[in-house]
Symmetry: none
Subunit: 203 residues, 4 copies
DNA sequence: GATGAATGAGTGTTCATTCAT
DNA sequence: TATGAATGAACACTCATTCAT
């Protein structure tokens, strides 16, 4: 609707996720959006309000996505059919961990989390707690169905997610977020995931 | 040697590792050291030179440490005796990943790596490449000796290190670096390491 | 007539008289009136025009009041009957010096008079010249009638008015214009007035 | 000692007392002192600190002066000799109410007192309470010595001071503080003082 | 070795005002 | 009548740095 405000948010996300909040000035954002500095204050109370709105929007989007994924999981017809990964982790990986918008936010969170306690909480939740909880649920279900060997599903989730997290960190900070590097991330991650499932699958 | 210079470096490391390079002003450092702002320029060309010297010193220390560890590995009497982990990973974990000085630097690197290409390289080297290479070597040796099952030693290193890296990230950014939180990190890591070796050991 | 315009004037007078012209922003006024900032320019050419209209309105009102008081004085039946003060100064005191609307304007004038030559003139006229002239006339008449001792009526006016002016300054700036403080002003003033008349009355 | 700091204080007093605190910008002060805007922050923490130091200095000076005056009063040899006014009020009038430095501060206080509670207190103390208390003491002493008629010394002080306060307000805000206008103030005040003493003197 | 004093470039923010709708 | 959107000019303040002493 409000075109300028959206432009500001987009520009701010790009710049913040590249350089961090404090290294980006209002002037920088306005230069990109092609408005005067004072104009930004018509749309936002102050610089921090832009940052807040960015995070708020992300949390809304991500909450929604994870809700869908979890519902899909619990309402899925059993026995699970076809490829194991596809039924469980593909969406989470492609639509969350590798989504362009989410990646920018994650980079931003990674840059800013230590500055600010609130951001730290959001970072912890969306980078550690939520992914690990989700995978724990997935593995619990797969165990119930006898698809993977019985084990501590929480530790399993850590073993599954930690390498992905490591690859993701490398991908997010290898410079700019180009498709080429993204592909390397994807391959590293898929190699791991395949290996992982080979090890834990029953037969 | 030069007392003031050392004080400046210590204060700078403390402050930089807590708040990041740009969020710490020359004023802040001088307040801690109790000198005037202009005095700092007698010891350092500019603000960045402090940062550079900090990293330089770390790299010297860390290079030295890793050299020692690697030499100990290759010159060790075979067959390896006693506890597996002690012989290989304990020192690396306690004297590098958990060392107070190294932790401050790692926090600093984690905060700053995205800002600057040179820092990025140092970060990648000391946080990813070096640890993974070291573990790869360790696992190669252990395989040669038949102590652990044969496998892709590089992937093994990733599976070993990734959870430790994840726990370390949580530890480094849980707020201030207190002993209490450090202990949590240690326990998480040791649990994983024990589990890991149980899985890969030959019998 | 024009409701919004009147609301703006009321809000502006309240705010200006509390905080001064320049400390009150168009935003502040609009917040009170519940209109958008640009709307104010439909009713007034600019911020100063609000201020001007406020003063203009006051001057009309005050001119009218003083005219009435002076006419009442000159057309009064002689000899003056009854309480001396009631016949002369009561109205002036209660309907001008203590009137809520006039007080707001006086506070505003007191705050702004030094900023601007035109305001200074209005201030001087309504705070000093007019009251002193009025009292001078009153005392001249009272002398003519033999009610008070013969003296320099101008100096008499000063001796009469100066303490009232002093009390008024204290009342106008004791914080917000509450009834409690107003009463203190009234008592201080009446004490003085009674004392004063005791001294100057012929027996 | 510190030349620049003193220049800043002088310039600030001149400007603040002419235009008020908020109407004077750091730029304005620096222009007068011929330094760059950032330099001012070497000498003062912020804009308000200049204002504070100005008032602080005035209070020190004025406290000192009033102490001296009061001591002179209580330690004077009795019976008081010579001209009544000289012995009591001359110094207070010439060295306080008419002192150039004090006048600037008083103008400043008069302009700013309504903005800020702390300033209001200082204003009330030095413009109302202190002068009235001092005169009350003076008149008490003069009564004890039988030099003036017995009366309520507090009300006497008000009757004495109020016209002076009124003339002073006129003098302080007649535009710039020129010697010509100062002389008018002095004459108005002295006329009143002489009249006043004629009325209250015994005999 | 240390510091008092100064500065240029930049920062986020406020404000009165304009103008098309 | 009212407002959404924009803007130029100003403001207080911070910071890394310089340089003479």
């Amino acid at each position: 609707m409000n075109e300028t405000k959206q432009k500001i948010l987009n520009a701010a996300l790009d710049l913040f996720s590249q350089n961090g909040f404090s290294a980006v000035s209002i002037r920088d954002i306005c230069k990109v959006v092609a408005i005067k500095e004072s104009s930004i204050y018509y749309h936002f109370k102050n610089k921090h309000a832009i940052f807040d709105e960015l995070l708020q929007h992300f949390e809304a989007i991500a909450t929604d996505l994870m809700l869908q994924l979890e519902q899909a999981l619990t309402t899925a017809q059993k026995p699970f059919e076809g490829n194991l990964f596809e039924k469980t982790c593909y969406c989470f990986f492609e639509e969350y961990l590798m989504d362009e918008y989410c990646n920018k936010i994650m980079r931003l969170l990674s840059i800013e989390h230590f500055h600010n306690n609130e951001v730290q909480k959001i970072y912890d939740y969306w980078i550690f707690d939520k992914p690990l909880n989700f995978q724990t649920k997935v593995f619990s279900l797969l165990m119930e169905e006898g698809i993977i060997k019985t084990a501590d599903s929480k530790y399993l989730a850590t073993k599954f997610y930690a390498p992905i997290f490591l690859f993701m960190q490398q991908w997010l900070f290898r410079g700019t977020l180009t498709d080429e590097y993204k592909q390397i991330f994807r391959e590293n991650a898929y190699d791991h995931i395949n290996n992982f499932f080979n090890e834990v699958e029953n037969n």
